[in-house]
């Protein structure tokens, strides 16, 4: 698998290629029995508490880390285009500071590429309507440049 990560200031974008068809990749996200097996980073376990894959349908996951830390995440499905796009809102119940108690949106795009599938995930923070404009805040070099600048400053 080859993965890449790129970040804009108000969105997170990750992408990976898999040696399987788009249908298989899409169903790993929409079949509760499948997503419960893989969802979450390696040192996490996921339990599907609620998952109604239809527009407006709710989902709620419980995640348990290796050290036993429990968190809950939930949202609604916004768009479902088989083998193409899955879009849902995301709210972290214990991590309200990260989502600021407001909705964020995750869109997962599926595309056939080089005999496999390209899966691109975009997580956008939508604190207000004004944020729509802010989301277009495209810095050519974005976060790495900002980080270097701020870190350089701390060492002054």
């Amino acid at each position: 698998m080859n993965g890449e990560t790129a970040s804009n200031v108000n969105e997170v974008k990750v992408s990976a290629w898999y040696a399987v068809g788009v249908h298989q990749a899409f169903s790993a996200w929409t079949d509760p029995a499948k997503i419960a097996v893989w969802f979450g980073p390696e040192n996490y376990r996921a339990e599907v508490l609620e998952m109604e894959v239809k527009i407006g349908g709710r989902w709620r996951f419980k995640m348990i880390s290796e050290s036993g830390e429990v968190s809950h995440h939930r949202g609604r499905y916004l768009a479902i285009e088989p083998d193409k796009l899955l879009s849902f809102t995301w709210e972290s119940e214990e991590d309200a500071d990260l989502t600021e108690g407001r909705e964020t949106r995750v869109s997962v795009h599926f595309r056939a590429e080089s005999g496999g599938s390209r899966v691109t995930l975009v997580h956008e923070r939508l604190p207000s309507l004004k944020a729509k404009d802010a989301l277009e805040f495209g810095w050519s070099s974005g976060i790495p440049k900002l980080r270097r600048l701020l870190e350089g400053k701390r060492h002054d």
């Binding site: 698998m1 993965g3 990560t5 970040s7 200031v9 108000n10 969105e11 997170v12 990750v14 992408s15 990976a16 898999y18 040696a19 399987v20 298989q24 990749a25 790993a28 499948k34 097996v37 893989w38 969802f39 979450g40 980073p41 390696e42 990260l98 600021e100 899966v119 995930l121 997580h123 923070r125 604190p127 207000s128 004004k130 944020a131 404009d133 802010a134 805040f137 810095w139 050519s140 070099s141 976060i143 440049k145 900002l146 980080r147 600048l149 701020l150 400053k153 701390r154």
Partner: protein, 108 residues
Amino acid sequence: MASPDATFSALAHPVRRRMLDRLLDGPTTVSQLGAEHAVSPGAISQHIRVLEKADLIRRTLNGRQHRIELDEKGFQPVLTWAEKYGAFWGANLDSLGAFLMREKTDER
């Protein structure tokens, strides 16, 4: 700390986004910013006030010149969010890859 709304309102204006873009290259002066962005002195100080309120820039007096630079305070929540979720989703796509490969092997 500025409210998230102040931050996003501040980022919502294209001139202010361009000003921040310019400041990524390093500190500058008020008059330079105005000249570079073809904005009247009145408008530029208005934009500077909005960015200052959002903790996105800070102003220091250097002789008779106001020096403007990016302020890490306003950007920190944005960076924290992007880092945390960037790592989270990256790890998720890895887990998905491992699952899809297992599924593929099981089919055989």
